[in-house]
């Protein structure tokens, strides 16, 4: 099943938009600047709608099926949040309207800042970063600014565990730091000896995800924080896995100085096929002045003008690293996350973490006797298996992943983290029922059996999807990156 390109259904003279009549006299067009050709498609509205609706049918999505993509927290996206973000009073507000005209937007941002502070234990929040990686970059620029401001110019290294998300070393490098990789130990924690060996006066900080990408809570977290702080470094928290501990533990209590939140993971805003997200950053009091702005503050009226109410206004912190994007942040994402948090309350959030962890452990227990589990511990919201099924040596993780599609499931994250060979990283999230988990586990067990008895079924998978396995190598060798007539 394939759908022609929009360019291929284009016919000269068609147009799906009706524009208003020109109601002013025409002005002279600057001839030297005009373009001759604009090769955009020409389609009618019915054809346009059918094209995109048919394309939509080719997608797997949270609303069509289980999506246990590790480290991505593909939980259900509540519909009320979509309704709220589309209210005209939010959607049709210009970012340059003066503060007194946009008190509602600033209120939402102020409330969200406060909620995230309380959830994380941090002293201050900037909502500006547009995604998790953007938040990491923001945080590491703050690490840089903090040390420089103290005249401490020799801190050039940032420690990153070998289990880290690829964004961590990439964000670090963008700030001009040198990345030093720290080993994991046999239990999947940061290797404390390796950490100590690298902690010196050149360390600007460490980036750590906890629970880490193995889905394990680093048992030595307080010790790690002590070691990093002991050499004068700052501890950065990658909040991608916050869903495991939201409402249960405050990251600031673990010794983190900075952390980004992925609102599109923990706080249920939709992933949109790759974005938009939002990656607010929280910091301790010592770092608050370096946050990117604008952040929102409130003026509380004195007694004489009480009836005028609160006044919210944008504020640029005094030593700010500067803005990291235009305007305020991904407001449409922020308002959804704010609604989610207010809807659930702290008790609801605690249940989110507890059930995310319950679901992951249940699946782990159902699968660990069939698929190798390299770190045999209670996991948090996700766990990592290896696709090296005993007795099925010719089968690789990619084959298992592709075969899962025939059962109607999105595969887990594969080949990550890098420290587990043939990794399968499974994150069910709290929004999946026991029946779904069982159906997925049954499929995984059946696939393991097939791997031993009918491996070609896996090698040739998927069989039931709109397209069969796609040729990645060809795409990279002969790049065709746009339609050409």
């Amino acid at each position: 099943m394939t759908e022609p390109l929009i360019f291929e259904i284009s016919r000269p003279g068609r147009c799906a938009a009706s524009l208003p009549e020109l109601d002013v006299p025409e002005a002279r067009l600057p001839q030297a600047f005009l373009r001759n050709d604009l090769p955009l498609p020409e389609v009618s509205e019915p054809d346009l709608v059918r094209h995109y609706v048919r394309l939509s049918h080719l997608n797997h999505a949270v609303d069509t099926g289980f999506y246990p993509l590790g480290s991505c927290t593909m939980k259900y996206n509540p519909k009320i949040n979509e309704v709220i973000s589309r209210l005209e009073g939010f959607a049709a507000v210009h970012p340059y309207q003066p503060a007194h005209m946009v008190q509602g937007c600033l209120y939402v941002m102020y409330v969200l800042q406060g909620l995230l502070q309380e959830i994380s234990g941090f002293a201050a929040i900037s909502l500006q970063p547009a995604a998790g990686a953007h938040g990491e970059f923001t945080g590491m620029l703050m690490v840089r600014a903090y040390h420089r401001d103290r005249g401490d110019l020799g801190r050039t290294k940032v420690l990153v565990p070998d289990s880290a998300h690829g964004t961590n070393p990439a964000s670090t490098a963008m700030c001009g730091f040198e990345v030093v990789e720290i080993r994991s130990d046999a239990r999947g924690n940061v290797d404390l000896e390796d950490l100590k060996a690298h902690c010196d006066e050149h360390v600007a900080g460490m980036m750590l995800t906890n629970p880490n990408t193995l889905g394990l809570f680093d048992e030595n977290i307080l010790e790690i924080a002590k070691i990093v702080h002991g050499c004068g470094g700052l501890l950065y928290g990658d909040g991608a896995n916050l869903n495991a501990i939201v409402g249960v533990v405050r990251p600031a209590d673990l010794g983190f100085d900075i952390m980004h939140f992925n609102l599109h993971k923990t706080f249920s805003t939709p992933h949109g096929g790759g974005g938009p997200g939002a990656g607010p950053v929280g910091v301790t009091k010592a770092l608050a002045d370096y946050l990117p702005g604008p952040i929102v503050r409130v003026e509380i009226p004195d007694e004489e003008s009480l009836d005028e109410g609160l006044y919210f206004y944008p504020f640029m912190p005094p030593k700010s690293i500067g803005r990291v994007k235009a305007f305020y942040g991904n407001f449409g994402v922020l308002v959804r996350a704010c609604a989610y948090i207010l809807h659930l309350g702290i008790e609801g959030l605690r249940q989110v973490a507890e059930h995310a962890v319950l679901n992951a452990n249940y699946l782990r227990v159902r699968l660990q006797d069939t698929y190798p589990l390299p770190y045999k511990r209670t996991c948090m919201h996700e766990f990592v298996l290896s696709g090296k099924i005993p007795g099925a040596e010719g089968v690789r993780t990619i084959d298992i992943a592709k075969r899962l599609m025939d059962f109607g499931f999105h595969p887990p994250t594969i080949y990550f983290p890098l420290i587990v060979p043939e990794a399968l990283m499974i994150e069910p999230t709290e929004t999946e029922s026991l029946e779904t988990l069982d159906a997925f586990a049954d499929a995984m067990l059946q696939i393991a059996e097939e791997a031993r008895t009918q491996p070609e079924l896996l090698h040739n998978a998927p069989h039931t999807t709109p397209l069969r396995r796609l040729d990645d190598v060809r795409a990279a060798r002969e790049p065709k990156l746009r339609w050409q007539p």
Binding site: R35, H94, A170
Partner: protein, 444 residues
């Protein structure tokens, strides 16, 4: 809890299977002294109360649809055809993730491939990525890319003072850790006179079209000079203007970026928007962000995949071209649907309507005493007016007449106090324009 399906019986069965008594036991690896702290939190709101709460907050905003709005400056109020929100509201699109598994993600992949093709068509470039966070970050990443293309040996960036002030600020933030200096802040310069700053130390030259003041600067000869010095030319372009005016690629630009919000995305108080990013094929391996390419499946059928990912952070880690991971895919989908809806003729017609209406307003204002239309170069949908009073004061007076006035240029350019950047789109009827002119007369 509506989003957690577990019954008591489910929980008991699962805990039993795991072999623990309580869910709390699953958190045994967490140091006990930090577990279950006391939170200060408002009580949860049911769905009905939640909606009322946010409706109340949104009613505390003045939404532009209730006013005559002449504010632009990087975020534009264009009409969004109904099909756009209808398509992006399909949950097969908005509840999907990055299309890492192409066999079950062809909808997103093909839509992005089409988006990339449309951005190439608009900009006159050969490759476009799947989007950046916004126009500002796209500019910053373009500068970093130019620096990398030239092997980090050139440490100067010449950026026009009339690139959007917040894009310039964002770029400065992005290059803090790099050995790069940004020059070109002198507002007496235009694109042509800035060119003299481009030398053998320069990584790239950055200009905006139309520039922040709405003007169409003369781009002739720029590519030749910049390339002669071995540098790259980055153009920040408005996508609606490109419906009418020559593509930056036609002038010889090397990287074309911009804010894609005007293409079917609501104002939404500044985000989420999308940054579009396009370049020449020869630079594709230095480009940041996701790319979709065409290929075939095992049966030879055409299909699409994420490709050339060896540039990206999940493969290359600290040697990646950027750290970008999540982008603005759904906003890019909106942009693609918008461009397909307007199409070849519609986008041009729309751009012409904006052009004619903006020029009509400029002519009418130029007839007023106490006001001067300062813009002398050709312009698109924005132009600069010198007002008899501070712009903040003007705008308060206009607001009393239900008019949202233009942008106060004195905020960014001290020498332009009392200068207002006025924006006109197809949303402004002649009646609105005439009302503004009358109001200006009254408040002068």
């Amino acid at each position: 809890m509506p989003y957690i399906p577990h019954s008591d019986a489910d929980r008991a069965a699962m805990l039993d299977a795991i072999g623990v008594k309580h869910i709390k036991n699953l958190f045994a690896d967490v140091p006990a002294k930090v577990l279950y702290p006391k939170f200060k939190f408002p009580p949860p709101l049911d769905e009905q109360t939640l909606l009322e709460h946010f409706r109340f907050a949104s009613d505390n905003n003045a939404n532009v649809n209730d006013y005559m709005c002449f504010l632009g400056a990087g975020a534009y109020r264009h009409f969004i055809p109904s099909v756009v929100d209808h398509i992006v509201s399909r949950s097969e699109f908005y509840t999907a993730y990055t299309p890492y598994q192409p066999e079950i993600s062809q909808g997103t992949l093909q839509a992005i491939f089409e988006y990339q093709s449309m951005i190439c068509a608009l900009t006159g470039m050969e490759v476009a990525n799947a989007s950046h966070y916004d126009g500002a970050t796209a500019v910053a990443e373009a500068v970093v890319m130019a620096y990398n293309v030239l092997r980090k040996k050139r440490n100067k960036v010449v950026m026009s003072p009339f690139v959007h002030p917040e894009y310039r600020a964002t770029t400065r933030t992005y290059v803090q850790g790099l050995d790069l200096e940004i020059v070109g802040d002198d507002t007496r310069q235009d694109a042509q006179s800035l060119l003299s700053l481009v030398d053998e130390e320069t990584a790239c030259f950055v200009t905006q079209f139309p520039n922040f003041l709405g003007e169409l600067e003369d781009f002739r000869g720029i590519a030749e000079h910049v390339h002669d010095k071995g540098a790259l030319w980055v153009v920040v372009a408005d996508p609606i203007a490109l419906g009418l005016f020559k593509a930056p690629g036609d002038y010889g630009a090397d990287i074309v970026v911009g804010e894609g919000q005007p293409l079917g995305n609501p104002l939404s108080f500044g985000g989420p928007y999308l940054g579009f990013f396009a370049t020449r094929e020869q630079y594709v391996h230095k480009m940041a962000g996701r790319l979709v390419g065409e290929t075939v499946d095992a049966e030879g059928k055409r299909g699409f995949v994420l490709t050339l990912s060896a540039r990206e952070q999940h493969i290359r880690r600290e040697r990646a071209t950027s750290n970008i991971c999540s982008n603005e895919a759904l906003n890019a989908l909106a942009a693609a649907v918008y461009l397909a809806a307007l199409g070849k003729c519609g986008l041009r017609q729309l751009a012409e309507i904006c052009y004619h209406k903006a020029h009509y307003l400029a002519r009418e204002i130029s007839k007023l005493r106490h006001y001067e239309v300062v813009t002398t170069k050709p312009f698109f949908r924005e132009f600069v007016v010198r007002c008899p009073k501070p712009v903040a004061e003007m705008n308060e007076a206009l607001l009393e007449r239900d008019i949202i006035g233009g942008y106060d240029l004195g905020r960014d350019y001290p020498e332009m106090a009392n200068h207002m950047l006025v924006c006109v789109t197809e949303r402004n009827s002649r009646l609105e324009i005439d009302t503004l002119v009358r109001a200006l007369k009254e408040v002068s």
